[in-house]
């Protein structure tokens, strides 16, 4: 059977599975809609969190990024996993004990202020919308590459599916579909990786394989370092970025991960405090299975690609090269008309342009794996994009229906009315996300990475101090969040988007820190301002101080929501 037939079969089967689960797990109450009724077993929550977390970018682009940047790519590997340690140790158990539905719920109650709640809602919406636009686009792109439909058609199909299970099932439907999506995506990622690792090194475990030697007895990494040097690239295993910037980006990604509302809210769905702790562990374990495989795939793919194409006759290349040329992901331009591909670091002499996504997408073909494996990668990419989009849409929907509508505009709304409002906001959110997927604003790609900076600059300090600093009051937290968020915005607008006159060169970055890493600075500023302001203003009321004492003790989590 051909690749296309296999893809239709696998995508059809997995989609039927997701829809079946959504019908089985539809939400009957607002508690089920927002937090799946608080009854998700920790291992399942771990899987759902992992699927929620790993987006189309993790699945498709990450290995390519690491492949092209080598050691520099470590910031993403460490940054997007290390945040879970912070989540497990500093946030998840306490937020679970607090026991409400959303992150703005915590901020609003802990800082006894609707101003704080509104600031948190706005921050949650900004972070989630920048993130979700990229996901819908990702769904469209995967569809168009694997099923040969138009990108926009792909976005519509993705919207219809997400709409179906997010609106119907709420958090409950999303959680159980995410469990299925995790299984699909991890299987789809691991199968080709294991095949290739065995093929290149004789070791089926990719994590060990890329430290092993190939058939010629040379260590793979040494060989790749050599190839890179020969072609004029920097050595694969050493970096090219400033150490301070590598440090700042890693911190911003870790802290940002721990501050992302769609990740935090997952820990409201388990029954007990101890479940919140252990499900963070499961989540990271499930994420780490993919994330520790990524650098191995990156090394295999890069070595294989260079060996296959570099200094080879264009006319004698394997068939896949032509297939991917058609998609525009590979471009060969014979500058010196010798019919041979010169792939080198020097831009004026380089003849081959490679899109980074090809490292995962074309890898199974380059390694000549069976057609069903190639199709599986498509189904996996769709699972990754859909699961993340659904999680984000739920945060957007609950921010509007719960935090704004129920808590501020119309507190006397009935249970039924709130559930209806939640479904309606999910519907509107899907439409807006779809609109951005079809008409992507030029800055989306640039901004997704910065969503982490925004989360680091706003939520993380406010939540951590809400738990660990009893003296923190609303004046401190609000001013910290506003200054942190504005500072991050300003830096992003000036140094990344060039909205304030000409975009200044990297040499003018503050302390040599790039916009991607600036969330770290904004976070520190948030902490400092919060502490200073809070010490000069009145201490929080007694009942709030009791909330803080209460969330520090695990027992009685079930009753916490009655406060």
């Amino acid at each position: 059977m051909g690749i296309l037939t296999w893809t239709w079969i696998l995508v059809g089967v997995t989609f039927a599975l997701y829809i079946g689960i959504a019908i089985w797990a539809r939400a009957g109450s607002s508690k089920e809609f927002y937090v799946a009724g608080g009854g998700v077993p920790p291992i399942m929550n771990g899987m759902a969190t992992a699927a929620d977390w790993m987006s189309a970018a993790s699945f498709i682009s990450l290995a390519g990024i690491v492949s092209f940047t080598g050691y520099d790519g470590s910031v993403y590997l460490m940054g997007w996993t290390g945040g879970y340690v912070l989540l497990a140790l500093l946030l998840a158990p306490y937020l679970r004990k607090f026991g409400k539905f959303t992150v703005p719920d915590f901020i609003g109650d802990r800082y006894y202020s609707n101003t704080a709640r509104v600031v948190a809602v706005i921050a949650a919406l900004i972070v989630s919308f920048t993130y979700v636009a990229g996901q819908m686009r990702g769904v469209g792109i995967v569809f168009s590459r694997y099923l040969e439909v138009d990108i926009n058609t792909g976005v519509y199909i993705g919207m219809a599916i997400v709409l179906f299970y997010a609106v119907l099932g709420g958090m409950k439907g999303i959680t159980y579909t995410q469990v299925a999506q995790y299984c699909v995506l991890i299987f789809a990622f691991m199968v080709p990786a294991i095949f290739i690792s065995f093929q290149m090194t004789g070791n089926p475990i990719p994590q060990l394989g890329f430290g092993a030697a190939g058939e010629d007895g040379v260590y793979l990494l040494d060989k790749l370092d050599g190839l890179q040097r020969e072609l004029g690239f920097h050595e694969y295993t050493s970096g090219s970025k400033e150490m301070i910037d590598v440090f700042a980006i890693t911190v911003a990604l870790m802290v940002g991960t721990a501050g992302l509302p769609h990740v935090i809210v997952r820990f409201f769905t388990v029954p007990r405090v101890k479940d919140a702790r252990v499900s963070a562990g499961w989540a990271l374990l499930f994420i780490a299975i993919l994330y520790t495989t990524v650098p191995a795939v990156a090394v295999f793919a890069r070595t294989k690609l260079i060996e296959t194409v570099s200094n080879k006759e264009y006319a004698e290349l394997p068939e896949w090269f032509g297939n991917w040329e058609k998609t525009g992901l590979l471009k060969f331009e014979d500058k010196n008309n010798d019919g041979i591909i010169q792939y080198v670091a020097d831009k004026s002499a380089n003849e081959l342009t490679i899109d980074r996504d090809i490292m995962v997408l074309a890898n199974p073909e380059i390694a000549q794996l069976p057609n069903w494996v190639i199709a599986l990668v498509g189904a996996g990419g769709l699972a990754a994009a859909l699961s993340t989009a659904a999680g984000l849409l739920l945060v957007i929907a609950s921010s509007i229906s719960h935090d704004l509508f129920k808590k501020i505009i119309k507190p006397d709304i009935s249970e039924k009315g709130e559930l209806l409002a939640a479904r309606f906001s999910a519907f509107v959110a899907v439409c807006i996300a779809g609109y951005f997927g079809i008409n992507p604003p030029g800055f989306v790609a640039a901004v997704v990475a910065l969503a982490f900076g925004l989360a680091a600059a706003s939520f993380f300090p406010a939540i951590v101090m809400g738990i660990f600093d009893k003296r923190m009051n609303k004046e401190g937290a609000i001013s910290g969040m506003i200054v942190g968020l504005s500072l991050m915005f300003f830096y992003m607008a000036k140094y990344k988007l060039g909205w304030l006159g000409d975009k200044p060169p990297a040499s003018e970055w503050w302390f040599g820190i790039s916009p991607e890493g600036f969330g770290t600075v904004a976070m520190v500023v948030n902490f400092v301002i919060s502490v200073v302001v809070s010490r000069f203003t009145a201490e929080p009321p007694l009942d709030v101080q009791h909330i803080v004492e209460d969330i520090r003790i695990p027992s009685g989590a079930g009753e916490a929501s009655s406060h």
Binding site: V66, Y71, G73, S74, L77, M78, T81, G82, Y84, V85, A88, L89, L90, P93, Q207, F210, G211, A212, A213, Y219, L220, L221, D222, T237, S238, G239, M243, V246, F247, T250, R272, V273, K274, R277, V278, A280, G281, L284, L285, A288, Y291, T292, P295, E549, R552, I553, P554, S555, G556, A557, G558
Partner: protein
């Protein structure tokens, strides 16, 4: 639960956090970033050690840290009678 008991529980919790987060910082930032060049002179099979920490080792340690934390806290909860 009495005020003193609660304070003691919280203090032990903070002690665990300090130790675990120091290890978290050590494996990622110190081994994977600050000392990467020095550690790269040591080889672990085909891996340079600093590179290995940045792209493999730190992630393994992160997973272990969370499960160790879960164990420690479950014990602590029992000791103070605040488990569920």
């Amino acid at each position: 639960m009495s005020k003193e008991k609660m304070k003691a529980y919280w203090k032990e919790n903070l002690g665990y956090l300090a130790i675990l987060l120091s290890i978290w910082f050590l494996v990622s930032y110190v081994f994977g970033i600050f000392l990467v060049d020095q550690l790269n002179t040591i080889k672990l099979g085909g891996f340079k050690l600093g590179f290995w920490f940045a792209q493999q080792g730190s992630m393994y340690v992160f997973v272990i840290l969370i499960f160790v934390y879960v164990r420690l806290m479950n014990k602590l909860d029992k000791k103070y009678g605040v488990d569920e």
